[in-house]
Amino acid sequence: MSKFKKDGGRTTPAINTSALPDIVFMLLFFFMVATKMRDREMKIRTKLPQATEVEKLEKKSRLHYIFVGPPLDETLGTSPRIQLADAFATVDDIQTYITMENAKKDEAEIPYMTTSLKADETVKMGVVSDIKQELRKVNALKLSYTAAKAAKD
């Protein structure tokens, strides 16, 4: 009966995996190109509002970020806080922060600097208006209300 059956008949041939690194490298390059580095740690929650007329912000190097929202750490309460760079701040710190950040940039770039305001949708306009006033005082007049893109109906 087992005349035609070979000894090692059960063992399947090894799959050729020599192309696997190529596939993985392809994935790797995709992610390297399509994503950007996460450069700050968020201390507050920002659930962005939705809008249909949003525009892409051009160069990332021409952006200041200001975050407003309730703290992630619940022991700090739920009232909205401002985050500049990696730390909590108050409205009074904004002028210093923008001036400091501008000092790092090329002078020719400063008129093109946009402030990206990332605020949680539950935040009241009082805080936002205070921030806007502070920005006007340091002549940072380009502002962007960061919002997620909603589908047009």
């Binding site: 809008a51 007329e53 525009e55 009241k124």
Partner: protein, 184 residues
């Protein structure tokens, strides 16, 4: 002896995939995908002189008010947000027909006032509707004159057309400093 040296031993590439996976996982963890998008606002510089809108005739200004309960008041009437865009478009394209709306598109102003208690979500929605109105009006004008929507005009080759559309419907959307209307 010389013959033996010449054939190079095969390099074991079996762990290459592992190394690549390691790199891949590193990039997956440390990067984010979102491209920042937002509603662009150009704020006026601080000045002592009263803002332009207060010197304007009343008919040129479309007053939009959002109170602390997120309710919308347009020219003194309560309005739901889905009607705001059409109202704003009517105002911009009125050209003197309706005596309550703007006399000329180049003079039309939209004034957005909010309360300190207005939620950011509502404010962004209202701002979005007003921006949408401007974009649509510009698109329609550009379509009529140049057969191409405003957003499709290329900034390099059709600079003059863009300038013309912008001059026809200048974006005069003023955000007033907030007042406390009915403090909570």
């Amino acid at each position: 002896m010389g013959k033996r040296r010449r054939d190079i031993p095969e390099i074991n590439a079996g762990s290459m995939a592992d190394i690549a996976f390691l790199l891949l996982v590193f990039f997956l963890v440390t990067t984010t995908m979102d491209i920042p998008t937002g509603l662009q606002v150009a704020m006026p510089p601080i000045s002592e002189t009263p803002p332009e809108s207060s010197q304007q005739k009343k008919r040129e200004v479309l007053e939009v008010l959002v109170n602390s309960a997120d309710l919308l008041l347009v020219e003194g009437d309560v309005m739901s947000i889905d009607k705001l865009k059409q109202k704003c478009k009517d105002h911009l394209t009125n050209e003197g027909r309706n005596p309550n709306l703007s006399s000329k598109s180049t003079k039309a102003i939209v004034s957005l006032k909010n309360d300190r208690g207005t939620s950011y979500k509502m404010y962004v929605q209202v701002y979005n509707e007003l921006t949408a109105a401007y974009n649509e009006v510009r698109d329609e004008y550009s379509m009529r004159t140049y057969g191409k929507s405003y957003s499709e005009l290329s900034p390099e080759r059709e600079e003059n057309k863009i300038k013309d559309v912008k001059a026809k419907y200048p974006k005069k959307l003023s955000e007033a400093e907030p007042v406390n209307i009915g403090v909570k």
